[in-house]
Assembly symmetry: D2
Homo-oligomer: 424 residues x 4
């Protein structure tokens, strides 16, 4: 009885979260023209329309097809078209050709969303009959869609940045200067610590199992590196001196002819930064630096006589920090601002912080079986862990144990730098 | 006086042609959704929106800027954004990134067109003051836009073909079977002939000067190769036997794993063809074959014991043929149909016919000076001449002396095969 | 006094090691024709001649130029030609063009070696005057040359394998079948362990500092995976099922069309293996599997219901194992044979064992300053650690703490698989 | 009877020519080290050893296998290894991997040559029994080997040029300055001319049939463009101004960052040129320019207010010129010198002269049947004709009707520029 009651409550909670999440996706897309929603400006970027359809495909494929006997798909062709990488589910439309598709149109995708929403909500309203395994799918589907909400923001930023007209996503978002955050360091004691998710509530598989690690004493900077600080590295010839860089990083810098973070550009004699609010001034900015790769983060840290934290250090240090910050719900979609101030050490929100830890399996980890098992485990190679969430991460999505991961040359996410040091 | 009168008449004629041409461009785009108009499915393809803007940029850059003192550009950024390849005019936005641009939107491009149209029409209405050199620019601008009308059709066909949903451009255009054209051969006498444009009316620079050539006796097939005929080549293993192919053609076939013309695909056990009307049946079709490359045309001819005509042969043979055929104005946008019957030997319209002639300069040719001189001469390398126009060519655009040209692996145009033979 | 005596002894010891090492390099090259010594069959491979010259360049650049006032280089052009990747030392000849160089010839390189040997030996003979820092360079130079000895073996194996004639390096080395090694598992207790080099004798910088790690209980297989065992994975469709593979591994398999380990090939209906002794039979072989990538090792382990060990587990388990095995000095240059039997758990020699640990910095690590600091630290990205040495590793070169590292798709080294399992 | 006598004489003549040709190949290779003979510095280049073996393979495959019943190949693996591009004969070892082969060694290839020579000579000595069709194969084999003699020279020049040591092929060949050739122009009358080979003696299939062409009046410069003249184009910014270049040529210049002919390089403040004799001074040189591509030749001609000749013009103009010049037999292996003076208009020898004619089939041409039919016809696409032979062409190999051909970006042959102009 209590169990059923709980199940109902869980279904109700999920229904609210589902509605909220689905609405937020469409809110993020609302400032865009239909033409904006089909562009793929590089293989890593997906068109807005694709994100809106793929997150819907997820509920249709993993929930509706299982939960509704004789389910008739909204459009059978969508099952290939909007599969991202689930080999277990079947064929996928090639990732780097998502920008070749103009149909279904934005309007048709919104209809697809409405049709699937209706059926998911129907299922959740008769919640007492839905098994826990399907409620789990709803929960993972909501978290999955939140991840794509962040990608909608970062991908459209990249799309718009490729246009010489530099159109703003929303001109009201142009960031303004603000006073610098405190620069001090905090020390942390080593020894055997525990990290990882302990279960009992939702988390991605890669966050567990909770396990012991041995740490040396270390210290962390109290706030992320700012544009002003990084400008000194640039001015000091940081991009021209191989001694600061990993070998692969130096090849990357030379081959691509890089001289600065992704969205910085010299414009009429001044260094400026493309933001979702348009081209902004960055001279002397005390906002947190964003859009740097692991290679840049690592080189900067070496130049600054420090290093990046390991993810175990980061998680240990984040334990006392309140889970507050400048997340996507604030609506700023750029680091800095009063949202940051909510978090004294600024460990959450603003920018994802590169750690020096390669993304791998925790001791005792094994991927869940079934198609959803492809979610995390198969990417454990060649990527680095980032922690803390960014100004484009939905607030309800982040956890202290949350492990984001990207290859070392990726920088179209809101990724920044937290410095660490060995003690003694 | 008479001269002024003529100038006025010429300006009036050009005004009518200008309006008609500008309207036809928009008519061709009218069945499309905004999302369709921004896609670039391969580097050769440009988005519909780009074609609509670039043809407008042409009038703005080469006419309005020269004709109107203190001309204020519609948007200064457009001058780079919509320059195709005119080094003389300045920088160009990279050709293979035209699909990264969502702005200006379709609506904004239509406004751009309207604004420029108005000013061009104003100029032409006060025709008595406009120097001949500027009227020439209007005429070349009209012909330039007609070329892009053909590209709008062929490019959107390619874009839609990349979508697994295989959306039709206009479902009413689905082609229907028809009875075969006569298959005979016509003989032509050799000796010294004259080819090329003799001046006195509009032609592209590369069509002249008119000059003598020496031809041997030859014969031409009375109609283009059909789908049915080409199917025999495919069934005979034509794509698997290197002996039929040029060395470069064989590398192309093997590397791309080709087995058939561009838009043919096996679907539910039958060979079908993607058309602007959707997926059509081609089993046993007597319509002219289209969308083959020079390599395929050459291999087919060798397999059939024949060869492709030279462009001098083609032009000589086309002399008596009426300049009628299945052109874009017919609105069929696919080879065949009653439009073809208008031309007994079907030398005009339906499909561009590959010749074995490399695209080069006629004796005495020199490129015009100025930016417009970049129009044709600089492409005289690595391309082959095609003749006769296609079902996507505006009727008023073609001439007997017209030289179209494409690289030997291009096949997204409506390109087909006319066979030739040596006599004696 | 004692100190001087020690220094002399160290110089004497180094002199013997230097002579021995330099001789062994030439012995490894002795079965080759001059033509063999200039080939670069892929960017990772360097020509034998290049290895012989580069190891000599190392002593010339880091020792002779510093130790001999007014030192006149053997040939000034060699300083660019034979620099591998030391940005601190100056320009480098492009790595992927080492196979474009026919000069200096093998004979000239041997002269270069002789000339440098003489001067190094002179220096070491007057040992009482040589500062410790230069003796350190001699020691690192010897270890550096030992690394290239292994590469001489693996690189020439790759070169010869590209030739359809499949020439043997030395036909006497054709491996013979032998009886299987014991297959059991050994359990190890977790808790806080110490790993890494503790100093006091030669080690590469990346092996330290010694530090604590926390391990869960685990078990290791007593011997590496054999050809016979891996054949079952191949026969079970291991290379065709994406569920076994990391995402990047599956892309690698598909793109390269892989079906088996690097040197396996189907020949006259039987699976065979190219070895330095020529083409050998592998049907039913109980020799350790070699020439698999990290991707293959990881996929095999998943298929087998196990996992790869971490490097901390490996080092902990290797603690009691004697540092004996089938190393290059045995002269077999292929896994297996009586050399392996010397080591009960076969943890040393035979094949490098892939660990699941990404190659990174130990806590407190910092790269040494100067050009030699480029040796290890700058490669800490995108690579995985291998442990234990192989049949191509000089016996004196290996240590329990030794960390070899390669990208996950590399498989031209003698790399194999040790399985691990979580306990409880 | 007379017929038999002739056949015998023909066999005797061919025997002498065969011996002479085979010897000359080995003479060209004689200054090289074994290491030089295996390098492939770009896909177009083949190792010397490969040329020596491939020309031998030609006689073995097309002559010995047909002429000797039960012929046992020297080594069965060679039939794939040394097949260049004859699909009719079977599989080919990939062209761009010829530099991965160290075996057979130079010594083994020389043995292969000796073994095949012996059998060919035996066949020719019993000449009265050999059918004409096989004598034809000997003749084409000799001509084929002469083509590879030229490639041995040009390919090893490229190989040595990639080495920073800039080793000379033969230091005695360093060219010296000389006085300029006369610069005048000669006029030629147009009308119907005949070009092409008329049969009756050896020629490649692509040189015929002889046929009529119609030419306008034209004039040709009396000598090829010199280094001094071309230096003015370079100094005038010729490589930085797109107006001089074909569109494809300009892309090529920009992408490769080109600034000068292939072997020119700035060295200690002066412009120098790598030659087979080593690095030579070219400041103010009046020697014919060499190692330019079609793109460079065409751009230079446009800059100079002229154009390149068509091949029909070239052949018509060359009719009265004696077939003498600086060919490979002179042993200079560089343009200029007294050899050039032998030919008043310098139309033969020194440098191949680019024509503006795309390489295509003459009217009535059809490729011979059988494997040897692959010799010329299948390359008739994307290449331009060069005429006249060079300092690396064997004297006995050239004809007035000889058509050499290369893609427009090739420049590692001794290719230069002859200017033409339209008259009137």
């Amino acid at each position: 009885m209590g169990c059923t009651a709980t199940a109902t409550n869980r279904a109700e909670e999920l229904l609210l979260a589902f509605r909220e999440t689905r609405r937020f996706t469409e809110k993020l897309a609302s400032p865009l023209e239909p033409e904006d929603c089909v562009i793929q400006s590089m293989p890593d970027v997906s068109p807005t329309r694709w994100h809106m359809a793929h997150t819907t495909w997820f509920f249709e494929t993993f929930l509706l097809r299982d939960a509704i006997p004789g389910y008739v798909p909204h459009d059978p062709a969508y099952s290939v078209l909007f599969n991202s990488y689930y080999n277990g589910v079947g064929e996928q439309f090639p990732r780097d050709q998502r920008g070749f598709l103009s149909r279904p149109t934005v309007r048709q995708v919104l209809e697809y969303r409405r049709a699937v929403n209706e059926q998911v909500e129907d299922l959740l309203l008769r919640g007492d009959k839905l098994p826990d395994s399907l409620l789990d799918v709803v929960e993972i589907g909501i978290n999955h869609e939140q991840q794509h909400q962040e990608l909608i923001v970062t991908d459209i930023k990249h799309v718009l940045s490729c246009n010489p007209l530099l159109p703003a996503y929303d001109a009201a978002l142009l960031p303004r200067p603000e006073s610098p955050a405190p620069r001090g360091w905090t020390e942390f004691e080593g020894g055997v610590h525990e990290i990882g998710h302990e279960g009992g509530s939702f988390a991605f598989d890669n966050e567990g199992p909770r396990h012991k690690v041995y740490l040396e004493d270390f210290s962390l900077r109290n706030s992320p590196v700012t544009n002003r600080e990084y400008s000194e590295f640039v001015a000091d010839g940081g991009y021209r001196d191989p001694r600061h860089w990993l070998s692969a990083g130096w090849s990357w810098v030379k081959q691509a002819g890089l001289e600065r973070p992704l969205y910085w550009r010299r414009h009429e004699g001044k260094m400026r930064e493309f933001t979702l609010g348009g081209l902004a001034d960055i001279c002397g900015s005390d906002l947190p630096l964003c859009h740097v790769s692991y290679f840049e983060a690592d080189a900067y840290a070496r130049w600054a006589g420090a290093r990046l934290p390991t993810e175990a250090e980061w998680e240990t240090a984040a334990l006392p920090a309140p889970l507050l910050g400048n997340f996507a719900d604030v609506g700023r979609l750029h680091p800095g601002g009063s949202g940051s101030a909510a978090s004294p050490t600024r460990m959450f929100g603003d920018v994802w912080e590169w750690t020096q830890s390669a993304y791998d399996a925790y001791p005792g980890y094994s991927a869940p079986s079934g198609a959803l098992g492809e979610y995390n485990g198969k990417f454990m190679c060649g990527q680095f862990v980032l922690r803390g969430g960014s100004c484009a991460t939905p607030a309800g999505h982040i956890r202290r144990t949350y492990r984001n991961f990207f290859p070392p040359d990726a920088r179209w996410q809101f990724s920044g730098i937290r410095l660490a040091k060995q003690l003694g």
